[in-house]
């Protein structure tokens, strides 16, 4: 991909990723957040965190399945946007929902399992965001960096649990998100197994060259 095409692509992704915030801002400005604005904003940000997370995780499976690899160059950007939305989602909880009522918040983190796993998901995203720069990739070395960043799958599972556990009965969307995540994880797993098998075959072939 040419440099210009890459810049254009990234600009488009920036705009698309900021769009949910723009729409949210517009709805806030026009008083269109419904009867319970705080809950609306929390849920809006939580939904977009999860969507961006799924999109980030989907890029490798897309390459595996379809051989399209240019989206991988967007992974860092999407991941950082997912992290930013998660931070905003979390800030609403601290600033608005509980208004710095620390006792209440700590009790929630300990007692409410959906908060516990949400908190864990956000915490695990921090080292990934911190090590997202090129310099950090170099410092850690490719293999270690890749191993570390597999944590994103753990974050995905925690996010799915967070949503499943907080949603009231009758809602379908948490199951849809969980199903998409399972599919993506399944593809990754299948690919890993396939590669391991291929590698073993190669090694064996190298060891026994005399069969022919």
């Amino acid at each position: 991909m040419s440099r210009r095409a890459r810049i254009l692509l990234k600009s488009v992704v920036w705009i698309l990723c900021l769009l949910p915030l723009v729409v949210l801002g517009y709805r806030a400005a026009t008083g269109d957040l419904g009867a319970n604005p705080i809950s609306f904003v929390t849920n809006w940000l939580g939904q977009w965190t999860f969507r961006l997370l799924l999109l980030t995780v989907a890029l490798t499976p897309i390459r595996v399945l379809f051989g399209i690899s240019w989206p991988i160059s967007l992974r860092r950007l999407l991941g950082l946007f997912a992290f930013s939305y998660a931070c905003l989602h979390f800030s609403i909880w601290i600033l608005v929902d509980h208004f710095f009522n620390w006792d209440q918040m700590i009790a929630d983190i300990v007692k409410r399992r959906y908060i516990t796993v949400g908190m864990l998901a956000l915490t695990l995203l921090v080292p990934l965001a911190v090590t997202s720069t090129n310099a950090m990739v170099r410092r850690l070395g490719g293999a270690a960096w890749r191993r570390l960043h597999r944590l994103v799958y753990v974050v995905g599972v925690l996010a799915a649990l967070h949503f499943l556990w907080l949603a009231k009965k009758g809602r379908i969307d948490p199951y849809v998100y969980a199903a998409i995540l399972s599919l993506l994880l399944g593809i990754r797993l299948w690919d890993a197994v396939r590669r391991a098998l291929r590698k073993r075959r190669h090694e064996q072939a190298a060891k026994e060259p005399a069969l022919a």
Partner: protein, 317 residues
């Protein structure tokens, strides 16, 4: 679609609009009323028409009433869907007339009432009640109705009657979420069933409700007839009731059947007993910014506390 119907109310029953507006300050409600001049009222569906009632000062609430718009657009009414916006969006599919309510079971005089007759059974009064949802939000709503006890006394419960079971309309034509979805998915086991102990049902606070904000009950709020039990979480107050049955055994309610560990039969508002997934200690009053503390029995402890004397409210949650 405008279907021509016979007038629901005699002209004498309809409050004069000017008088009504001067009487109270619910500007949003008043604006909504302005859209329904009395002439139009004769041909439109009953929801939204003014409904005359005398305010009962014994049942007031010092907090400001929730905006009419909020109370009619932010609803839990699973028959229309699980999202809060679904009821307002789909409410037009419900036909609140003609409508009958069957009152039977362990009673000396079972009877099926036309809802128009129920409206005339007892003087309508307006009462401002706090409404606390199990999800942690609350509203303050001026309801119109009369004590459920007035109806129950008429049918004369027998000695075997220990509980009252309410059944909501079952009709997938009128309630879209009662249609079977993908993979036979259904949020609840229809019809919706709720229940009260007989003494709870006879309690003067328990209101058989036909209106709110000076109007006939909007469809999304449980038209044409519902109960309001203000010291319990909102889902205990059954909507769009077609049957009231007096029974000897504790009814199995819809939410108990769905998630017994989360929704008990009593479901009294209790800041000390958390829902398994969230705290009930505080609530967000719709229209307010900060959470407020939830009072025991939603603020009605003086009136209803004695009903539960000696009961372990953690066990009977």
């Amino acid at each position: 679609m405008l279907i021509k119907r016979a007038p629901m109310f005699k002209a004498s029953e309809i409050t004069d609009l000017k008088l009504y507006c001067n009487r109270r300050e619910f500007m949003v409600g008043a604006a909504a009323l302005a859209l329904f001049p009395t002439v139009a009222a004769a041909t439109s569906t009953p929801s939204g028409q003014p409904l005359k009632a005398t305010r009962n000062p014994a049942f007031n609430n010092s907090d400001a009433a929730t905006k009419f718009e909020s109370a009619t657009t932010y609803n839990n009414f699973y028959e229309f869907g699980v999202n809060k916006e679904d009821p307002a969006r789909l409410a037009h599919t419900l036909r609140p007339r003609p409508w009958t309510v069957q009152v039977d079971g362990h009673v000396a005089k079972p009877k099926t009432y036309d809802v128009n007759d129920l409206l005339r059974l007892s003087p309508l009064e307006e009462r401002v009640y706090a409404l606390r949802c199990v999800e942690g939000w609350s509203m303050v709503i001026p309801w119109i109705g009369f004590p459920l006890a007035s109806l129950l006394k008429r049918v004369e419960p027998t000695g075997q009657a220990k509980f009252v079971e309410f059944t909501t309309l079952l009709d997938p034509e009128q309630f879209p979420a009662q249609r079977k979805g993908l993979l036979n998915f259904s949020s609840l086991d229809w019809p919706y069933v709720e229940g009260l102990r007989l003494d709870e049902a006879m309690h003067p606070l328990t209101l058989l409700t036909v209106g709110m904000y000076g109007q006939v009950l909007p469809n999304q709020n449980g038209a044409p007839i519902r109960v309001v039990v203000p010291w319990k979480y909102g889902f205990k107050s059954a909507k769009s009731i077609v049957r009231i049955r007096l029974v000897s055994d504790q009814p199995k309610t819809a939410w108990e059947k769905a998630q017994p560990q989360e929704y008990g039969f009593y479901s009294n508002v209790n800041p000390m007993v958390d829902h398994p997934r969230w705290s009930q200690a505080s609530e967000r009053r719709i229209g307010e910014f900060l959470r407020r503390k939830t009072p025991m029995f939603n603020g009605y402890a003086d009136q209803v506390g004695s009903l539960y004397a000696g009961m372990d409210l953690r066990k009977y949650f």
